[in-house]
């Protein structure tokens, strides 16, 4: 029997099929990476537990009103872009003795570079940022303020990390993420975090 030629399948429409699939995926999927400011909410407390007493000088009050104006320490109106500097000045003041770390004697903050004003915060681990907002505040402003508060801590941590390990804190975090098993990196991060702990408290907004 004569060998018959099998006709070739026309693959010209393959491109059309592929395009169709491509367009389907382009439409139904999104590429955006989710990013944001991570926070941890405080646990619900029983109403009969008394809040810990804090010295007034250790609390930095940031108030945002419904017109999105910023007031710090109840006295000074500032712009959002000035906030970071003020917060850094407050946290980094180091005017007194801190909370005892690991059962050691309360000590001064020897890594702070602030002016050591006795009327401002004692120690980074005692300094509390209190954020008061109004229900009518716009979310954009609220996020800006949150961003600046977190940014102030990041700046301080970066500075300390640069001084101690010649590498910035953000870089340490990045390295640690790529190298989960590295204990010395984790130790460094923990050390820096402990020296500038992020203490931001949020008050119930005014109605």
């Amino acid at each position: 029997m004569a060998k018959r030629d099998i006709p070739e399948i026309n693959a010209g429409s393959m491109a059309d099929i592929a395009f169709l699939l491509l367009i389907f995926f382009l439409v139904t999927t999104t590429m955006d990476v989710d990013t944001g400011i991570s926070r941890k909410l405080t646990e619900k407390q029983d109403s009969d537990i008394k809040p810990p007493k804090l010295k007034e000088k250790n609390v930095f009050i940031v108030t945002v009103n419904r017109n999105n104006d910023l007031l710090i320490e109840g006295t000074k109106f500032i712009q959002v872009d000035e906030l970071r500097e003020e917060v850094i000045k407050f946290i980094d003041n180091g005017g007194g003795l801190g909370n005892p770390i690991d059962g050691a004697e309360p000590a001064e903050c020897d890594w702070c570079e602030g002016v050591k004003d006795p009327a401002s915060s004692d120690h980074p681990n005692k300094a509390v940022i209190s954020l008061e907002s109004d229900r009518g505040t716009s979310y954009g402003t609220y996020i800006s303020v949150q961003n600046e508060l977190v940014g102030a801590y990041t700046d301080l941590r970066n500075r300390l990390s640069n001084k101690l390990y010649n590498v910035s804190y953000t870089e340490l975090l990045k390295q640690s993420k790529n190298d989960m098993q590295n204990e010395s990196l984790k130790e460094k991060i923990k050390n820096i975090k402990g020296k500038y702990p992020q203490i931001i408290s949020e008050a119930e907004p005014t109605k």
Partner: protein, 152 residues
């Protein structure tokens, strides 16, 4: 002479045989780098900008709460899954989310609040209060990377 006259002049056609390959390559690229759209947004949003941002890892552990305005209606609306809901529905939403995860993953569950730049803090506070009530403490304010001066 006829031997020479037969020779055709002009450009040969470009072969399109590799076109499917190129398109498939593009297709695979998009399939790998993108994720399926999970919900249709019912609320209008422009996310605020921030610089101190972190990437959200492990998307399966994240549940989203959308906040924004609905056209023709006043006030901020909260969207859970595909529905406009009230603040009270958030707990059921989170419980339903917890049911789909194993016990050991529950503390890792994060709630991402995607709120419009012009929403009011009151709405966000209500949501946060609701989340605190059911001990869903890890939250993330969804933002875009950018200068905060654009948040006005």
């Amino acid at each position: 002479m006829s031997k020479f006259r037969k020779k055709k002049k002009g450009m040969p056609g470009i072969s399109t045989a590799s076109l499917p390959d190129i398109v498939f390559m593009l297709l695979f690229f998009f399939m790998v780098t993108t994720v399926m759209r999970e919900t249709d947004l019912k609320v209008k949003q422009t996310l605020p900008f921030a610089t101190e941002i972190k990437k959200l890892e492990r998307k399966s552990l994240v549940s989203y709460i959308y906040v924004g305005k609905v056209e023709g209606q006043g006030g901020d609306k909260i969207q859970l899954n595909d529905r406009i809901s009230s603040v009270e529905d958030i707990k059921y939403f989170i419980f339903a989310e917890r049911d789909t995860h194993s016990e050991d993953e529950i503390p890792l569950l994060t709630t991402s609040i995607k709120a419009d730049i012009n929403s009011s803090v009151g709405t966000i506070t209500d949501i946060k209060e609701e989340l605190r009530n059911i001990n869903a403490l890890k939250i993330n304010y969804s933002t875009r990377k950018g200068d905060i001066t654009k948040n006005k």
